[in-house]
Symmetry: C3
Subunit: 156 residues, 3 copies
Amino acid sequence: MTPAKSLSRSKPSAVGATTIATSLLTVPTSGRGFVDFTAEVTRFLADAGAKEGAVTLFIRHTSASLTVQENADPTVLDDLMTALDRLAPEDAGWRHDSEGPDDMPAHVKTMLTSTSLHIPVLKGELALGMWQAIYLIEHRARPHRREIVLQFIGAA
Amino acid sequence: MTPAKSLSRSKPSAVGATTIATSLLTVPTSGRGFVDFTAEVTRFLADAGAKEGAVTLFIRHTSASLTVQENADPTVLDDLMTALDRLAPEDAGWRHDSEGPDDMPAHVKTMLTSTSLHIPVLKGELALGMWQAIYLIEHRARPHRREIVLQFIGAA
Amino acid sequence: MTPAKSLSRSKPSAVGATTIATSLLTVPTSGRGFVDFTAEVTRFLADAGAKEGAVTLFIRHTSASLTVQENADPTVLDDLMTALDRLAPEDAGWRHDSEGPDDMPAHVKTMLTSTSLHIPVLKGELALGMWQAIYLIEHRARPHRREIVLQFIGAA
């Protein structure tokens, strides 16, 4: 472990927290893969008049999940999918196989990634790093309609 | 990556955020396995008079963790445990072995799943999908008493 | 699955939620490894006058991540790193290799751990368990400067 010697931190800026705005986002997927929905979260924040606070993203499924990942080189997403396939292969002798060979791996991949994310919002903007985007990961082979609850809490 | 073309999103509904309610939940486990404590979170929200907002779940341990997973077919939970055992087997030459062979795998499994979850609450109800339940995962072989902080923030 | 029979839960305590305080923490890393920055989060909460609520931690990178893990025996951290190396080895035939052999494994390890954490704050203190500390995990081989947004929401 590295001692955290030379950290720096900006002074806290404080605002009143007065609003909770909620919206349900429906994302159609075309089967296994990543769907970048960052722009939709940005639009939600604009619609809600969000200024300072945080946005929660919650996916209402157990065979699709959320992640914040690199938005620059698309081969990163290919490799992330490969990594998940290796960690939860279809032919691994799963007991739960009644919904197809891709179903149980989808649950495992969901468990290993995220069902909920929480991202700060500063001056009305997502506090994402330069290379970060917000992705839904569809783990099932076939297209699905996925629901994500978007919720802003903070000052509007 | 799939372009997010045909997303749909409901208009944001907004309420004032005025309350934080906190409770400590103690969950006795009977050793390795999943414990569904969704009903207890629901009761907490009722007791707190929660209406619109979000609930945070935080487990105060590093060898037990949280996940939102399928509540229908119990073999899903068996397979999830198998998946975790394969990703962090006991006989993998861990350096940290002073607390028994199941301890270091328990830390790895905790790292790969969740210590904190954040779930929106709408009209007093958890915004879970139809097949979702909230689980504590006990990763140690023996029974333990586990503490989870429940915290609602929003309008009551 | 174990039925959750003998759970116990304290009565909810409620306060008004009125403040959001935000700060940007910069953490220099010395290459692969864990950096415990719990003390810095504690100082942020003191500076913000935080009393009751929760703190969000969000890392603005896709090749470094966050986790809450054991703070007692340093070999736990060694073993966690070993586990991540086994789950995402460098020589696994990644397509994305233009930024060095450690880059794609870093993205996979980030996906498998956490980009955002949410920890309750009670009476001005992080509600961590006795053995928990908050770590940044640097997944790249070389030193980096990493940015983490700290945000308290609650009563100050």
